[in-house]
């Protein structure tokens, strides 16, 4: 399998996943017992200018006794026009606008949390693998961290660092009086608000990476190349560095699987800190039965995860000689 066909194949899978996600998004309200669509549409009937709303492609995709396939096609058409419907809760704002405003807050939380936890976690895991004493000390902690629900970790941090030791603000992305700008004051304020949700994600994810790395290294140290190197008198440090390098590859693949969980973690963590990302938005949507907003947020989350997966695949391809060598063989 060459690099190009590797990328084509991955892209194919992700496009297909996107297709399935959109179809699910369209189908779920129709598959549910009761009459959710009726409820949904009736909520618009009470709003002013409802006739105008009804004429968007998106609204048309929700029925009016037309054949299902027409509704489905309209759903896709709406999507290609960047039309995700209108929010009830924040009427008359468009869902796509609301969701895109929230997205940066997720990115600024999730990306650093994943990257930093990956680096520190792998490092700590490697340290644990090399020392039996540290292993016995650190592993229970790692297991505890990875077992904690993200939002509970958020609650604990909020209690410790906003109530017991009031060092950080407890809600929002910045102080109410602030206007977003690139001024130092705003940036400091923003970072203060960002720290606790970031730390919650970081701590929970850290445990998982550390456990993974520790197990992988112990596994690699028992491999044949490790034995060979040891038989040829290589020092422990050298063998460890080889094991570490080989353990990195599965950890990069693990990154792809972790993204989905990180997003789930961010959704609930944001709620604890009223951090205005997609998770907080979803809560608003749930509480206000704003289905379009919820589904819009779902789609954006899926796209975000797909893009992240694709990037990780590319990184993997660039790093793993097995994929690279296959590419060289084809060229």
């Amino acid at each position: 399998m060459g690099l190009l066909s590797y990328i084509v194949r991955k892209t194919g899978i992700y496009l297909l996943t996107f297709f399935v996600a959109v179809t699910l998004n369209w189908a779920i309200p129709r598959l549910m017992p009761g009459d959710p669509i009726g409820v949904l549409l009736s909520r618009f009937a009470t709003l002013p200018e409802s006739s105008e709303v009804v004429y968007s492609y998106f609204m048309r995709s929700f029925g009016f006794d037309r054949p299902l396939w027409e509704q489905y096609l309209d759903f896709w058409r709406a999507l290609f026009n960047g039309d995700l419907g209108v929010s009830i809760y924040m009427y008359p704002q468009k869902v796509e606008d609301i969701v895109l405003q929230a997205l940066p807050y997720d990115l600024v939380l999730i990306v650093p949390a994943v990257v930093v936890s990956w680096i520190i976690g792998n490092w700590l895991g490697a340290v644990a693998a090399t020392s039996r004493r540290l292993d016995n000390l650190l592993m229970p902690l790692f297991y505890f961290l990875t077992s904690s629900p993200y939002f509970w970790m958020a609650i604990v941090l909020a209690w410790l660092l906003t109530v017991v030791f009031p060092l950080f603000p407890s809600s929002g992305a910045y102080s109410p009086g602030m206007v977003p700008s690139l001024s130092t004051a705003f940036i400091i304020d923003f970072i203060k608000h960002w720290t606790l949700p970031f730390l919650s994600l970081l701590l929970v994810m850290l445990g998982g990476w550390a456990i993974g790395m520790r197990n992988l290294i112990i596994y690699e140290l028992e491999s044949n190349y490790s034995r060979y190197m040891e038989a040829l008198g290589a020092g422990r440090r050298l063998i460890l560095s080889y094991a570490f390098r080989n353990a990195m590859l599965p950890q990069i693949t693990g990154l792809a699987l972790q993204i989905g969980l990180a997003v789930a973690g961010a959704i609930t963590t944001e709620i604890v800190f009223s951090y205005p990302g997609l998770g907080f938005l979803m809560l608003q949507a749930i509480q206000n039965q704003d289905y379009f907003l919820m589904q819009g947020a779902f789609l954006v989350i899926v796209v975000m995860v797909l893009v992240a997966n694709f990037v990780i695949d590319l990184i993997y391809a660039a790093i793993d000689p097995r994929i690279r060598s296959a590419y060289a063989g084809e060229a």
């Binding site: 491999s223 044949n224 190349y225 034995r227 060979y228 190197m229 040891e230 038989a231 040829l232 008198g233 290589a234 050298l238 080889y242 390098r245 080989n246 590859l249 793993d320 000689p321 097995r322 690279r324 060598s325 060289a328 063989g329």
Partner: protein
């Protein structure tokens, strides 16, 4: 003597007890090619491990290993090994196919292993690669890019790069086809004849292919050496009943034959957890005496070789 093994017992510690993989081995290795032959589970690979890499779960229980008269392995002391590994005693491991880390290029592996030995290591590696008919660019390749045979030869080059006095070749031919097996064995012979290495211990279950390159042969059974002597003598006229059964089961010397397929010896190889009392071979032996089940045979000299069998005591 380059290498001397004295009364060595090496057991594997498992959760359900000891596996007595090497159970009293005496062996001397001079400037020669020694073939160590035995069925799988006879302890021959463990013998190799206990000489160069005795680490848990393998435990040296008794005996010692000397290199040029200096002790390198003893129960609970293997510190002597650090001085001799690679430079003086080296090994071509059993699983050459994954003996090289997949994520490092070959030249990097060589540089790391021969650290502190100067830059000419790579130049030497290039010459050696040519010697085993590999292109120099192997150095710039990842192990995954090499074919099985290329990997095998690369490992041979790496293992012998520092011209060790003693080379242990552990089942180097088992994963290869017949022609390649021959080539690899001849390569080892060439390394010995040209003085790159001074003695080689070839560990194998394939007696038919190894006897042609060996000067001496040692037959192992249940963690012990049962017969040890010049290759010609052992093959032509084996003394120990196990060696006889083993060699007679080869239809025609020179034809490739794997001992795994041996049908000539009735019964199963013994369990190394609870080896039979006395001579471990007695339950399968057609010439066993009454006392074979109670008395352990000693190694005795007979007819220019050493044999451990009560028939000759």
């Amino acid at each position: 003597m380059l290498l001397e093994v004295r009364g060595l017992r090496a057991y594997y510690r498992t959760l359900t007890g000891y596996v007595k993989a090497v159970n009293g081995v005496d062996l001397q290795l001079g400037e020669e090619i020694l073939g160590i032959v035995g069925e799988s589970g006879s302890g021959k690979s463990t013998l190799a491990s206990s000489i160069i890499l005795p680490k848990p779960p393998l435990r040296i229980v008794e005996g010692e290993v000397l290199f040029r008269g200096e002790r390198i392995v003893a129960p609970s002391d293997t510190s002597g090994l650090t001085r001799v590994r690679y430079r003086h005693i080296s090994i071509i491991p059993q699983y050459a196919m994954d003996s090289l880390s997949p994520t490092r290029k070959v030249y990097k592996i060589i540089k790391d292993l021969a650290r502190g030995l100067g830059d000419d290591v790579l130049a030497k590696a290039r010459r050696r690669l040519r010697r085993v008919n590999l292109p120099e660019r192997v150095l710039d390749m990842y192990p995954v890019e090499l074919s099985g045979g290329m990997k095998q030869r690369t490992v041979i080059v790496i293992s012998t790069l520092l011209d060790p006095e003693v080379l242990i070749a552990d089942e180097v031919t088992s994963a290869l086809d017949v022609t390649t097996q021959r080539a690899v064995l001849e390569m080892l012979r060439d390394f010995k004849d040209s003085g790159i290495v001074r003695s080689i211990m070839i560990i194998t279950h394939d007696i038919a292919s190894v006897y042609q390159v060996s000067d001496t042969l040692a037959i192992m059974y249940a963690g012990r050496i049962v017969e040890h002597g010049p290759a010609e003598k052992v093959i032509r006229d084996p003394l120990h009943p196990y060696a006889q059964a083993l060699i007679s089961s080869i239809p025609k010397i020179g034809i490739h034959y794997k001992m795994q397929k041996l049908k000539g010896i009735p019964g199963n190889p013994p369990s190394l957890r609870n080896p039979p009392s006395g001579c471990a071979f007695h339950p399968r032996c057609s010439r066993s005496l009454d006392e074979c089940s109670s008395r352990e045979p000693r190694m005795v000299s007979k007819d220019g070789r050493r044999v451990a069998c009560l028939l000759y005591e």
